[in-house]
Symmetry: C2
Amino acid sequence: MMLPFARVTIVGLGLIGSSIARGVRSTMPTVRVTGYDADPDVRATAVRIDLCDDVADSAGAAVIDADLVVLCVPVGAMGAVAAEFAADLPGDAIVSDVGGSKESVIAALRAVLPDATIVPGHPVAGTEHSGPESGFATLFRGRWCILTPEDATPEAAVVRLRSFWEALGANVEIMTPRHHDLVLAVTSHVPHLIAYSIVGTASDLEEVTQGEVIKYSAGGFRDFTRIAASDPTMWRDVFLNNREAVLEILQRLTEDVTMLQRAIRWGDGDALFDLFTRTRAIRRSIIEQGQDDPAPDFGRSHQ
Amino acid sequence: MMLPFARVTIVGLGLIGSSIARGVRSTMPTVRVTGYDADPDVRATAVRIDLCDDVADSAGAAVIDADLVVLCVPVGAMGAVAAEFAADLPGDAIVSDVGGSKESVIAALRAVLPDATIVPGHPVAGTEHSGPESGFATLFRGRWCILTPEDATPEAAVVRLRSFWEALGANVEIMTPRHHDLVLAVTSHVPHLIAYSIVGTASDLEEVTQGEVIKYSAGGFRDFTRIAASDPTMWRDVFLNNREAVLEILQRLTEDVTMLQRAIRWGDGDALFDLFTRTRAIRRSIIEQGQDDPAPDFGRSHQ
Protein backbone atom coordinates (compact mmCIF):
# COMPACT_ATOMS: atom_id res chain seq x y z
CA MET A 1 0.00 0.00 0.00
CA MET A 2 1.19 3.49 -0.89
CA LEU A 3 1.04 5.51 2.33
CA PRO A 4 -0.95 8.75 2.01
CA PHE A 5 1.40 10.72 4.29
CA ALA A 6 5.02 10.38 5.43
CA ARG A 7 5.14 12.85 8.33
CA VAL A 8 2.05 13.26 10.49
CA THR A 9 1.80 15.86 13.25
CA ILE A 10 -0.80 15.53 15.97
CA VAL A 11 -1.62 18.67 17.91
CA GLY A 12 -3.40 17.80 21.15
CA LEU A 13 -2.50 14.46 22.76
CA GLY A 14 -5.70 13.51 24.58
CA LEU A 15 -7.83 10.42 24.00
CA ILE A 16 -8.28 10.99 20.25
CA GLY A 17 -4.83 12.40 19.50
CA SER A 18 -3.07 9.62 21.37
CA SER A 19 -5.28 7.01 19.70
CA ILE A 20 -4.33 8.37 16.27
CA ALA A 21 -0.65 8.28 17.28
CA ARG A 22 -0.94 4.66 18.41
CA GLY A 23 -3.01 3.75 15.36
CA VAL A 24 -0.45 5.23 12.95
CA ARG A 25 2.41 3.45 14.66
CA SER A 26 0.51 0.18 14.54
CA THR A 27 -0.83 0.35 10.96
CA MET A 28 1.69 2.66 9.21
CA PRO A 29 4.94 2.04 11.11
CA THR A 30 7.16 3.86 8.61
CA VAL A 31 5.27 7.14 9.06
CA ARG A 32 7.01 9.65 11.32
CA VAL A 33 4.65 10.86 14.07
CA THR A 34 5.29 14.20 15.77
CA GLY A 35 3.17 15.25 18.72
CA TYR A 36 2.51 18.51 20.49
CA ASP A 37 0.31 19.49 23.40
CA ALA A 38 -0.03 22.90 25.04
CA ASP A 39 0.21 21.24 28.46
CA PRO A 40 3.85 20.48 29.43
CA ASP A 41 2.70 17.61 31.69
CA VAL A 42 0.96 15.96 28.76
CA ARG A 43 4.09 16.40 26.64
CA ALA A 44 6.18 14.80 29.41
CA THR A 45 3.75 11.88 29.63
CA ALA A 46 3.83 11.46 25.85
CA VAL A 47 7.63 11.21 25.97
CA ARG A 48 7.54 8.81 28.92
CA ILE A 49 5.07 6.41 27.28
CA ASP A 50 6.80 6.75 23.89
CA LEU A 51 3.62 7.87 22.15
CA CYS A 52 5.30 9.57 19.17
CA ASP A 53 8.63 9.56 17.35
CA ASP A 54 9.10 13.11 18.50
CA VAL A 55 7.35 15.49 20.91
CA ALA A 56 7.83 19.14 19.96
CA ASP A 57 8.05 22.06 22.38
CA SER A 58 5.89 24.41 20.34
CA ALA A 59 3.10 24.15 17.81
CA GLY A 60 5.29 25.80 15.19
CA ALA A 61 8.16 23.34 15.67
CA ALA A 62 5.66 20.47 15.55
CA VAL A 63 4.31 21.27 12.08
CA ILE A 64 7.46 22.52 10.37
CA ASP A 65 8.02 19.47 8.14
CA ALA A 66 4.58 17.82 8.34
CA ASP A 67 2.56 16.74 5.34
CA LEU A 68 -0.52 16.14 7.54
CA VAL A 69 -1.42 18.12 10.66
CA VAL A 70 -4.36 16.80 12.70
CA LEU A 71 -5.79 19.11 15.34
CA CYS A 72 -7.12 17.12 18.28
CA VAL A 73 -8.02 19.94 20.68
CA PRO A 74 -11.43 21.11 21.96
CA VAL A 75 -13.31 22.88 19.17
CA GLY A 76 -13.11 26.20 21.00
CA ALA A 77 -9.30 26.06 20.88
CA MET A 78 -8.88 25.20 17.18
CA GLY A 79 -8.44 28.77 15.91
CA ALA A 80 -5.92 29.78 18.57
CA VAL A 81 -3.69 26.74 18.11
CA ALA A 82 -3.78 27.06 14.31
CA ALA A 83 -2.74 30.72 14.67
CA GLU A 84 0.25 29.56 16.73
CA PHE A 85 1.66 27.41 13.94
CA ALA A 86 0.34 29.34 10.89
CA ALA A 87 3.71 30.88 10.06
CA ASP A 88 5.50 27.52 10.20
CA LEU A 89 3.00 25.44 8.22
CA PRO A 90 4.49 24.03 4.99
CA GLY A 91 2.57 25.23 1.91
CA ASP A 92 1.76 21.71 0.75
CA ALA A 93 0.62 20.33 4.13
CA ILE A 94 -2.96 19.23 4.64
CA VAL A 95 -4.61 20.45 7.83
CA SER A 96 -7.36 18.38 9.39
CA ASP A 97 -9.03 18.08 12.77
CA VAL A 98 -11.23 15.72 14.78
CA GLY A 99 -13.67 18.25 16.26
CA GLY A 100 -17.27 17.37 17.06
CA SER A 101 -18.71 20.46 15.33
CA LYS A 102 -17.68 21.34 11.80
CA GLU A 103 -19.15 24.67 10.65
CA SER A 104 -17.55 26.53 13.55
CA VAL A 105 -14.19 24.76 13.15
CA ILE A 106 -13.97 25.54 9.45
CA ALA A 107 -14.67 29.21 10.13
CA ALA A 108 -12.08 29.32 12.90
CA LEU A 109 -9.36 27.59 10.87
CA ARG A 110 -10.06 29.49 7.66
CA ALA A 111 -9.74 32.79 9.55
CA VAL A 112 -6.13 32.09 10.56
CA LEU A 113 -5.03 29.78 7.70
CA PRO A 114 -6.55 31.58 4.68
CA ASP A 115 -4.48 29.72 2.07
CA ALA A 116 -4.02 26.29 3.63
CA THR A 117 -5.54 23.05 2.33
CA ILE A 118 -8.04 22.23 5.04
CA VAL A 119 -10.05 18.98 5.14
CA PRO A 120 -12.06 18.96 8.36
CA GLY A 121 -12.82 15.55 9.83
CA HIS A 122 -14.59 13.89 12.71
CA PRO A 123 -14.04 10.28 13.75
CA VAL A 124 -17.23 9.20 15.52
CA ALA A 125 -15.51 7.17 18.22
CA GLY A 126 -14.34 7.62 21.76
CA THR A 127 -14.57 6.48 25.34
CA GLU A 128 -15.36 8.38 28.52
CA HIS A 129 -11.67 8.49 29.43
CA SER A 130 -9.40 11.44 28.68
CA GLY A 131 -5.71 12.13 28.37
CA PRO A 132 -2.64 10.75 26.57
CA GLU A 133 -2.67 7.44 28.40
CA SER A 134 -6.27 6.58 27.48
CA GLY A 135 -5.70 6.21 23.72
CA PHE A 136 -5.46 2.89 21.91
CA ALA A 137 -4.71 1.89 18.33
CA THR A 138 -8.02 0.17 17.57
CA LEU A 139 -10.34 2.96 18.73
CA PHE A 140 -11.38 3.83 15.16
CA ARG A 141 -11.70 0.30 13.83
CA GLY A 142 -15.15 -0.29 12.35
CA ARG A 143 -16.26 3.24 13.32
CA TRP A 144 -17.18 6.01 10.88
CA CYS A 145 -15.05 9.07 10.17
CA ILE A 146 -16.88 11.98 8.54
CA LEU A 147 -14.98 14.40 6.30
CA THR A 148 -16.53 17.77 5.48
CA PRO A 149 -14.41 19.38 2.73
CA GLU A 150 -15.22 22.82 1.36
CA ASP A 151 -16.33 23.17 -2.27
CA ALA A 152 -12.89 24.45 -3.26
CA THR A 153 -10.92 21.68 -1.50
CA PRO A 154 -8.77 19.73 -4.01
CA GLU A 155 -10.17 16.22 -4.49
CA ALA A 156 -6.67 14.73 -4.10
CA ALA A 157 -6.43 16.05 -0.54
CA VAL A 158 -9.74 14.43 0.37
CA VAL A 159 -8.63 11.13 -1.19
CA ARG A 160 -5.39 11.15 0.83
CA LEU A 161 -7.16 11.86 4.10
CA ARG A 162 -9.71 9.16 3.33
CA SER A 163 -6.85 6.66 2.84
CA PHE A 164 -5.33 7.75 6.14
CA TRP A 165 -8.52 7.06 8.09
CA GLU A 166 -9.14 3.82 6.25
CA ALA A 167 -5.65 2.70 7.20
CA LEU A 168 -6.61 3.34 10.83
CA GLY A 169 -9.56 0.99 10.31
CA ALA A 170 -12.36 3.55 9.93
CA ASN A 171 -15.09 3.78 7.31
CA VAL A 172 -15.20 7.22 5.68
CA GLU A 173 -18.21 9.28 4.71
CA ILE A 174 -18.28 12.73 3.10
CA MET A 175 -20.99 15.29 3.90
CA THR A 176 -21.48 19.03 4.25
CA PRO A 177 -20.44 20.66 7.53
CA ARG A 178 -24.02 21.75 8.11
CA HIS A 179 -25.44 18.27 7.71
CA HIS A 180 -22.69 16.85 9.91
CA ASP A 181 -23.61 19.26 12.66
CA LEU A 182 -27.27 18.25 12.54
CA VAL A 183 -26.54 14.51 12.41
CA LEU A 184 -24.13 14.75 15.34
CA ALA A 185 -26.56 16.86 17.33
CA VAL A 186 -28.91 13.86 17.16
CA THR A 187 -26.50 10.98 17.57
CA SER A 188 -24.07 12.51 20.02
CA HIS A 189 -24.55 16.05 21.32
CA VAL A 190 -28.12 15.87 22.62
CA PRO A 191 -27.55 12.38 24.09
CA HIS A 192 -24.56 13.79 25.99
CA LEU A 193 -26.52 16.82 27.15
CA ILE A 194 -29.37 14.66 28.41
CA ALA A 195 -26.96 12.30 30.13
CA TYR A 196 -25.22 15.18 31.89
CA SER A 197 -28.60 16.62 32.81
CA ILE A 198 -30.12 13.45 34.22
CA VAL A 199 -27.02 12.79 36.34
CA GLY A 200 -27.22 16.37 37.61
CA THR A 201 -30.93 16.12 38.39
CA ALA A 202 -30.45 12.86 40.30
CA SER A 203 -27.68 14.28 42.44
CA ASP A 204 -29.67 17.38 43.37
CA LEU A 205 -32.78 15.71 44.82
CA GLU A 206 -33.57 16.23 48.49
CA GLU A 207 -35.68 13.12 49.00
CA VAL A 208 -33.26 10.66 47.40
CA THR A 209 -29.67 10.69 48.58
CA GLN A 210 -26.66 10.52 46.29
CA GLY A 211 -25.73 7.28 48.06
CA GLU A 212 -29.04 5.76 46.99
CA VAL A 213 -28.60 6.93 43.42
CA ILE A 214 -25.21 5.20 43.33
CA LYS A 215 -26.39 1.97 44.99
CA TYR A 216 -29.35 1.45 42.70
CA SER A 217 -27.72 2.77 39.53
CA ALA A 218 -27.78 -0.68 37.86
CA GLY A 219 -31.48 -0.08 37.15
CA GLY A 220 -30.51 2.07 34.16
CA PHE A 221 -28.98 5.24 35.56
CA ARG A 222 -25.40 3.96 35.36
CA ASP A 223 -25.66 3.76 31.57
CA PHE A 224 -26.00 7.55 31.50
CA THR A 225 -23.08 8.17 33.80
CA ARG A 226 -20.57 6.85 31.28
CA ILE A 227 -21.02 9.58 28.73
CA ALA A 228 -21.64 12.09 31.53
CA ALA A 229 -18.03 11.37 32.58
CA SER A 230 -16.61 12.66 29.28
CA ASP A 231 -14.21 15.59 29.13
CA PRO A 232 -15.95 18.79 30.38
CA THR A 233 -13.93 21.27 28.29
CA MET A 234 -14.45 19.36 25.08
CA TRP A 235 -18.20 19.13 25.66
CA ARG A 236 -18.67 22.72 26.78
CA ASP A 237 -17.04 23.76 23.50
CA VAL A 238 -19.21 21.42 21.41
CA PHE A 239 -22.42 22.89 22.82
CA LEU A 240 -21.26 26.48 22.41
CA ASN A 241 -20.16 25.74 18.83
CA ASN A 242 -23.11 23.71 17.58
CA ARG A 243 -25.76 25.79 19.23
CA GLU A 244 -28.43 25.98 16.52
CA ALA A 245 -28.54 22.26 15.73
CA VAL A 246 -28.45 21.26 19.40
CA LEU A 247 -31.28 23.63 20.29
CA GLU A 248 -33.36 22.39 17.34
CA ILE A 249 -33.01 18.71 18.29
CA LEU A 250 -33.51 19.48 21.97
CA GLN A 251 -36.78 21.21 21.11
CA ARG A 252 -37.96 18.10 19.23
CA LEU A 253 -36.99 15.88 22.14
CA THR A 254 -38.81 18.09 24.63
CA GLU A 255 -41.99 17.83 22.59
CA ASP A 256 -41.69 14.05 22.46
CA VAL A 257 -41.02 13.78 26.20
CA THR A 258 -44.05 16.00 26.85
CA MET A 259 -46.15 13.62 24.76
CA LEU A 260 -44.96 10.67 26.86
CA GLN A 261 -45.55 12.60 30.07
CA ARG A 262 -49.12 13.18 28.97
CA ALA A 263 -49.54 9.49 28.04
CA ILE A 264 -48.41 8.52 31.55
CA ARG A 265 -50.66 11.09 33.20
CA TRP A 266 -53.72 9.91 31.24
CA GLY A 267 -52.86 6.21 31.47
CA ASP A 268 -52.47 5.77 27.70
CA GLY A 269 -50.64 2.44 27.78
CA ASP A 270 -50.96 1.85 24.03
CA ALA A 271 -48.98 4.98 23.16
CA LEU A 272 -46.20 3.85 25.52
CA PHE A 273 -46.24 0.28 24.24
CA ASP A 274 -46.09 1.38 20.59
CA LEU A 275 -43.02 3.55 21.15
CA PHE A 276 -41.28 0.95 23.31
CA THR A 277 -41.76 -1.66 20.56
CA ARG A 278 -40.50 0.62 17.79
CA THR A 279 -37.26 1.50 19.59
CA ARG A 280 -36.18 -2.17 19.85
CA ALA A 281 -35.78 -2.37 16.07
CA ILE A 282 -33.23 0.45 16.04
CA ARG A 283 -30.95 -1.30 18.49
CA ARG A 284 -31.19 -4.45 16.41
CA SER A 285 -29.99 -2.51 13.34
CA ILE A 286 -27.12 -0.91 15.27
CA ILE A 287 -25.92 -4.35 16.33
CA GLU A 288 -26.40 -5.82 12.85
CA GLN A 289 -24.27 -3.04 11.40
CA GLY A 290 -21.49 -3.68 13.88
CA GLN A 291 -21.89 -0.40 15.75
CA ASP A 292 -22.48 -1.99 19.17
CA ASP A 293 -21.70 -5.13 21.09
CA PRO A 294 -24.36 -7.85 20.70
CA ALA A 295 -23.66 -9.23 24.20
CA PRO A 296 -26.29 -8.32 26.82
CA ASP A 297 -25.54 -5.31 29.00
CA PHE A 298 -22.85 -4.07 26.54
CA GLY A 299 -20.89 -7.19 27.43
CA ARG A 300 -20.30 -5.97 30.97
CA SER A 301 -18.83 -8.66 33.15
CA HIS A 302 -21.24 -10.36 35.54
CA GLN A 303 -18.51 -12.07 37.59
CA MET B 1 -25.85 -22.80 55.80
CA MET B 2 -29.47 -23.37 56.76
CA LEU B 3 -31.50 -22.80 53.59
CA PRO B 4 -34.34 -20.28 54.04
CA PHE B 5 -36.74 -22.20 51.76
CA ALA B 6 -37.06 -25.78 50.54
CA ARG B 7 -39.58 -25.41 47.71
CA VAL B 8 -39.52 -22.24 45.61
CA THR B 9 -42.09 -21.49 42.94
CA ILE B 10 -41.36 -18.92 40.25
CA VAL B 11 -44.36 -17.52 38.41
CA GLY B 12 -43.26 -15.86 35.17
CA LEU B 13 -40.17 -17.30 33.45
CA GLY B 14 -38.71 -14.26 31.67
CA LEU B 15 -35.29 -12.72 32.22
CA ILE B 16 -35.67 -12.27 35.98
CA GLY B 17 -37.67 -15.44 36.72
CA SER B 18 -35.27 -17.61 34.73
CA SER B 19 -32.27 -15.92 36.38
CA ILE B 20 -33.70 -16.72 39.82
CA ALA B 21 -34.27 -20.32 38.75
CA ARG B 22 -30.70 -20.63 37.53
CA GLY B 23 -29.37 -18.84 40.59
CA VAL B 24 -31.21 -21.16 43.00
CA ARG B 25 -30.01 -24.25 41.17
CA SER B 26 -26.47 -22.96 41.25
CA THR B 27 -26.29 -21.69 44.85
CA MET B 28 -28.98 -23.78 46.60
CA PRO B 29 -28.99 -27.05 44.64
CA THR B 30 -31.11 -28.96 47.15
CA VAL B 31 -34.02 -26.53 46.83
CA ARG B 32 -36.84 -27.75 44.60
CA VAL B 33 -37.69 -25.15 41.92
CA THR B 34 -41.12 -25.16 40.30
CA GLY B 35 -41.86 -22.82 37.43
CA TYR B 36 -44.98 -21.56 35.74
CA ASP B 37 -45.63 -19.15 32.90
CA ALA B 38 -48.96 -18.18 31.36
CA ASP B 39 -47.44 -18.62 27.88
CA PRO B 40 -47.37 -22.32 26.84
CA ASP B 41 -44.40 -21.64 24.52
CA VAL B 42 -42.39 -20.29 27.45
CA ARG B 43 -43.32 -23.36 29.51
CA ALA B 44 -42.19 -25.62 26.68
CA THR B 45 -38.89 -23.74 26.42
CA ALA B 46 -38.41 -23.98 30.19
CA VAL B 47 -38.83 -27.76 29.98
CA ARG B 48 -36.53 -28.03 26.97
CA ILE B 49 -33.69 -26.05 28.60
CA ASP B 50 -34.25 -27.78 31.96
CA LEU B 51 -34.76 -24.49 33.77
CA CYS B 52 -36.65 -25.90 36.78
CA ASP B 53 -37.18 -29.22 38.54
CA ASP B 54 -40.79 -29.02 37.47
CA VAL B 55 -42.87 -26.83 35.17
CA ALA B 56 -46.53 -26.71 36.19
CA ASP B 57 -49.48 -26.32 33.84
CA SER B 58 -51.37 -23.83 35.99
CA ALA B 59 -50.56 -21.18 38.57
CA GLY B 60 -52.51 -23.11 41.19
CA ALA B 61 -50.61 -26.36 40.58
CA ALA B 62 -47.34 -24.41 40.67
CA VAL B 63 -47.83 -23.01 44.20
CA ILE B 64 -49.56 -25.93 45.86
CA ASP B 65 -46.61 -27.07 48.00
CA ALA B 66 -44.40 -23.97 47.82
CA ASP B 67 -42.88 -22.25 50.83
CA LEU B 68 -41.81 -19.28 48.69
CA VAL B 69 -43.68 -17.97 45.65
CA VAL B 70 -41.90 -15.27 43.63
CA LEU B 71 -44.00 -13.40 41.08
CA CYS B 72 -41.85 -12.38 38.10
CA VAL B 73 -44.53 -10.94 35.80
CA PRO B 74 -45.10 -7.36 34.60
CA VAL B 75 -46.46 -5.25 37.47
CA GLY B 76 -49.78 -4.81 35.71
CA ALA B 77 -50.32 -8.59 35.76
CA MET B 78 -49.47 -9.25 39.44
CA GLY B 79 -53.03 -9.06 40.78
CA ALA B 80 -54.52 -11.31 38.10
CA VAL B 81 -51.93 -14.05 38.44
CA ALA B 82 -52.14 -13.98 42.25
CA ALA B 83 -55.92 -14.35 41.97
CA GLU B 84 -55.37 -17.45 39.83
CA PHE B 85 -53.43 -19.27 42.54
CA ALA B 86 -55.01 -17.71 45.66
CA ALA B 87 -57.13 -20.78 46.47
CA ASP B 88 -54.13 -23.12 46.21
CA LEU B 89 -51.60 -21.08 48.17
CA PRO B 90 -50.39 -22.86 51.33
CA GLY B 91 -51.17 -20.83 54.46
CA ASP B 92 -47.53 -20.70 55.56
CA ALA B 93 -46.06 -19.74 52.18
CA ILE B 94 -44.36 -16.40 51.70
CA VAL B 95 -45.34 -14.49 48.60
CA SER B 96 -42.85 -12.11 47.03
CA ASP B 97 -42.33 -10.44 43.66
CA VAL B 98 -39.68 -8.65 41.63
CA GLY B 99 -41.76 -5.77 40.26
CA GLY B 100 -40.27 -2.37 39.53
CA SER B 101 -43.01 -0.45 41.36
CA LYS B 102 -44.00 -1.38 44.88
CA GLU B 103 -47.00 0.62 46.14
CA SER B 104 -49.16 -0.56 43.25
CA VAL B 105 -48.01 -4.18 43.55
CA ILE B 106 -48.72 -4.34 47.27
CA ALA B 107 -52.23 -2.99 46.69
CA ALA B 108 -52.86 -5.46 43.86
CA LEU B 109 -51.60 -8.48 45.82
CA ARG B 110 -53.26 -7.53 49.09
CA ALA B 111 -56.62 -7.22 47.28
CA VAL B 112 -56.58 -10.87 46.18
CA LEU B 113 -54.45 -12.41 48.96
CA PRO B 114 -55.85 -10.66 52.06
CA ASP B 115 -54.35 -13.11 54.58
CA ALA B 116 -51.09 -14.12 52.91
CA THR B 117 -47.61 -13.24 54.18
CA ILE B 118 -46.41 -10.85 51.48
CA VAL B 119 -42.87 -9.46 51.34
CA PRO B 120 -42.55 -7.41 48.16
CA GLY B 121 -39.10 -7.24 46.61
CA HIS B 122 -37.22 -5.70 43.72
CA PRO B 123 -33.80 -6.88 42.58
CA VAL B 124 -32.21 -3.88 40.84
CA ALA B 125 -30.60 -5.87 38.05
CA GLY B 126 -31.32 -6.87 34.50
CA THR B 127 -30.24 -6.75 30.91
CA GLU B 128 -32.03 -5.56 27.79
CA HIS B 129 -32.81 -9.16 26.81
CA SER B 130 -36.09 -10.89 27.59
CA GLY B 131 -37.42 -14.43 27.85
CA PRO B 132 -36.57 -17.71 29.57
CA GLU B 133 -33.35 -18.22 27.64
CA SER B 134 -31.85 -14.87 28.61
CA GLY B 135 -31.51 -15.57 32.33
CA PHE B 136 -28.24 -16.43 34.06
CA ALA B 137 -27.31 -17.43 37.59
CA THR B 138 -25.01 -14.49 38.36
CA LEU B 139 -27.37 -11.68 37.33
CA PHE B 140 -27.96 -10.60 40.94
CA ARG B 141 -24.38 -10.94 42.20
CA GLY B 142 -23.18 -7.66 43.71
CA ARG B 143 -26.47 -5.94 42.85
CA TRP B 144 -28.98 -4.61 45.39
CA CYS B 145 -32.34 -6.17 46.14
CA ILE B 146 -34.85 -3.89 47.88
CA LEU B 147 -37.51 -5.38 50.15
CA THR B 148 -40.54 -3.29 51.09
CA PRO B 149 -42.41 -5.16 53.83
CA GLU B 150 -45.63 -3.79 55.30
CA ASP B 151 -45.72 -2.72 58.96
CA ALA B 152 -47.56 -5.90 59.91
CA THR B 153 -45.21 -8.27 58.06
CA PRO B 154 -43.62 -10.79 60.48
CA GLU B 155 -39.92 -10.03 60.89
CA ALA B 156 -39.09 -13.73 60.41
CA ALA B 157 -40.50 -13.67 56.88
CA VAL B 158 -38.34 -10.67 55.98
CA VAL B 159 -35.26 -12.39 57.42
CA ARG B 160 -35.89 -15.54 55.36
CA LEU B 161 -36.35 -13.59 52.14
CA ARG B 162 -33.22 -11.58 52.89
CA SER B 163 -31.25 -14.84 53.25
CA PHE B 164 -32.68 -16.07 49.97
CA TRP B 165 -31.48 -13.01 48.05
CA GLU B 166 -28.14 -12.99 49.81
CA ALA B 167 -27.67 -16.61 48.77
CA LEU B 168 -28.23 -15.47 45.17
CA GLY B 169 -25.37 -12.99 45.68
CA ALA B 170 -27.40 -9.80 46.18
CA ASN B 171 -27.07 -7.14 48.86
CA VAL B 172 -30.39 -6.46 50.59
CA GLU B 173 -31.88 -3.15 51.67
CA ILE B 174 -35.22 -2.49 53.36
CA MET B 175 -37.29 0.63 52.69
CA THR B 176 -40.88 1.77 52.44
CA PRO B 177 -42.75 1.11 49.19
CA ARG B 178 -43.21 4.83 48.70
CA HIS B 179 -39.52 5.61 49.04
CA HIS B 180 -38.65 2.70 46.76
CA ASP B 181 -40.93 4.09 44.08
CA LEU B 182 -39.29 7.51 44.25
CA VAL B 183 -35.72 6.14 44.27
CA LEU B 184 -36.45 3.88 41.30
CA ALA B 185 -38.15 6.69 39.41
CA VAL B 186 -34.79 8.48 39.55
CA THR B 187 -32.39 5.60 39.02
CA SER B 188 -34.37 3.54 36.56
CA HIS B 189 -37.79 4.67 35.37
CA VAL B 190 -37.04 8.18 34.13
CA PRO B 191 -33.73 7.05 32.56
CA HIS B 192 -35.66 4.40 30.63
CA LEU B 193 -38.34 6.89 29.60
CA ILE B 194 -35.74 9.34 28.33
CA ALA B 195 -33.87 6.59 26.50
CA TYR B 196 -37.04 5.43 24.78
CA SER B 197 -37.90 9.02 23.96
CA ILE B 198 -34.54 10.00 22.50
CA VAL B 199 -34.49 6.90 20.31
CA GLY B 200 -37.98 7.74 19.12
CA THR B 201 -37.10 11.38 18.42
CA ALA B 202 -34.03 10.38 16.42
CA SER B 203 -35.95 7.95 14.26
CA ASP B 204 -38.68 10.47 13.44
CA LEU B 205 -36.51 13.29 12.02
CA GLU B 206 -36.94 14.21 8.37
CA GLU B 207 -33.53 15.79 7.84
CA VAL B 208 -31.48 12.95 9.34
CA THR B 209 -32.17 9.43 8.08
CA GLN B 210 -32.48 6.39 10.30
CA GLY B 211 -29.49 4.96 8.42
CA GLU B 212 -27.39 7.92 9.54
CA VAL B 213 -28.56 7.60 13.13
CA ILE B 214 -27.44 3.96 13.10
CA LYS B 215 -24.09 4.59 11.38
CA TYR B 216 -23.02 7.36 13.74
CA SER B 217 -24.54 5.91 16.89
CA ALA B 218 -21.12 5.32 18.48
CA GLY B 219 -21.03 9.06 19.29
CA GLY B 220 -23.25 8.40 22.30
CA PHE B 221 -26.68 7.48 20.94
CA ARG B 222 -26.05 3.74 21.04
CA ASP B 223 -25.73 3.86 24.83
CA PHE B 224 -29.40 4.86 25.01
CA THR B 225 -30.57 2.14 22.67
CA ARG B 226 -29.66 -0.62 25.09
CA ILE B 227 -32.22 0.23 27.73
CA ALA B 228 -34.64 1.34 24.99
CA ALA B 229 -34.59 -2.30 23.85
CA SER B 230 -36.03 -3.56 27.14
CA ASP B 231 -39.33 -5.40 27.34
CA PRO B 232 -42.20 -3.11 26.20
CA THR B 233 -44.94 -4.71 28.31
CA MET B 234 -42.89 -4.61 31.49
CA TRP B 235 -42.03 -0.96 30.98
CA ARG B 236 -45.51 0.17 29.96
CA ASP B 237 -46.75 -1.32 33.23
CA VAL B 238 -44.02 0.35 35.29
CA PHE B 239 -44.94 3.80 34.00
CA LEU B 240 -48.67 3.27 34.47
CA ASN B 241 -48.05 1.98 38.01
CA ASN B 242 -45.50 4.49 39.26
CA ARG B 243 -47.13 7.52 37.72
CA GLU B 244 -46.79 10.10 40.47
CA ALA B 245 -43.10 9.55 41.18
CA VAL B 246 -42.19 9.36 37.49
CA LEU B 247 -44.05 12.59 36.71
CA GLU B 248 -42.40 14.34 39.65
CA ILE B 249 -38.86 13.38 38.61
CA LEU B 250 -39.61 14.10 34.97
CA GLN B 251 -40.72 17.60 35.93
CA ARG B 252 -37.42 18.16 37.75
CA LEU B 253 -35.46 16.89 34.78
CA THR B 254 -37.37 19.12 32.37
CA GLU B 255 -36.51 22.15 34.48
CA ASP B 256 -32.84 21.20 34.50
CA VAL B 257 -32.77 20.60 30.75
CA THR B 258 -34.43 23.97 30.21
CA MET B 259 -31.70 25.58 32.29
CA LEU B 260 -29.03 23.94 30.10
CA GLN B 261 -30.90 24.94 26.95
CA ARG B 262 -30.82 28.53 28.14
CA ALA B 263 -27.10 28.26 28.97
CA ILE B 264 -26.40 27.07 25.44
CA ARG B 265 -28.56 29.78 23.88
CA TRP B 266 -26.83 32.53 25.88
CA GLY B 267 -23.34 31.05 25.57
CA ASP B 268 -22.91 30.49 29.31
CA GLY B 269 -19.93 28.12 29.12
CA ASP B 270 -19.24 28.23 32.86
CA ALA B 271 -22.65 26.80 33.75
CA LEU B 272 -22.08 23.92 31.31
CA PHE B 273 -18.52 23.31 32.51
CA ASP B 274 -19.58 23.26 36.17
CA LEU B 275 -22.26 20.64 35.61
CA PHE B 276 -20.03 18.51 33.35
CA THR B 277 -17.34 18.46 36.03
CA ARG B 278 -19.75 17.56 38.82
CA THR B 279 -21.19 14.56 36.98
CA ARG B 280 -17.79 12.86 36.61
CA ALA B 281 -17.59 12.33 40.36
CA ILE B 282 -20.81 10.32 40.43
CA ARG B 283 -19.55 7.83 37.87
CA ARG B 284 -16.36 7.46 39.88
CA SER B 285 -18.41 6.54 42.98
CA ILE B 286 -20.53 4.05 41.02
CA ILE B 287 -17.39 2.28 39.86
CA GLU B 288 -15.78 2.41 43.31
CA GLN B 289 -18.87 0.78 44.78
CA GLY B 290 -18.78 -2.01 42.22
CA GLN B 291 -21.98 -0.98 40.46
CA ASP B 292 -20.39 -0.62 37.02
CA ASP B 293 -17.46 -1.89 34.99
CA PRO B 294 -14.31 0.25 35.36
CA ALA B 295 -13.16 -0.61 31.81
CA PRO B 296 -13.62 2.21 29.29
CA ASP B 297 -16.78 2.07 27.16
CA PHE B 298 -18.41 -0.43 29.59
CA GLY B 299 -15.72 -2.89 28.56
CA ARG B 300 -17.11 -3.16 25.03
CA SER B 301 -14.75 -5.04 22.76
CA HIS B 302 -12.70 -2.89 20.38
CA GLN B 303 -11.58 -5.82 18.19
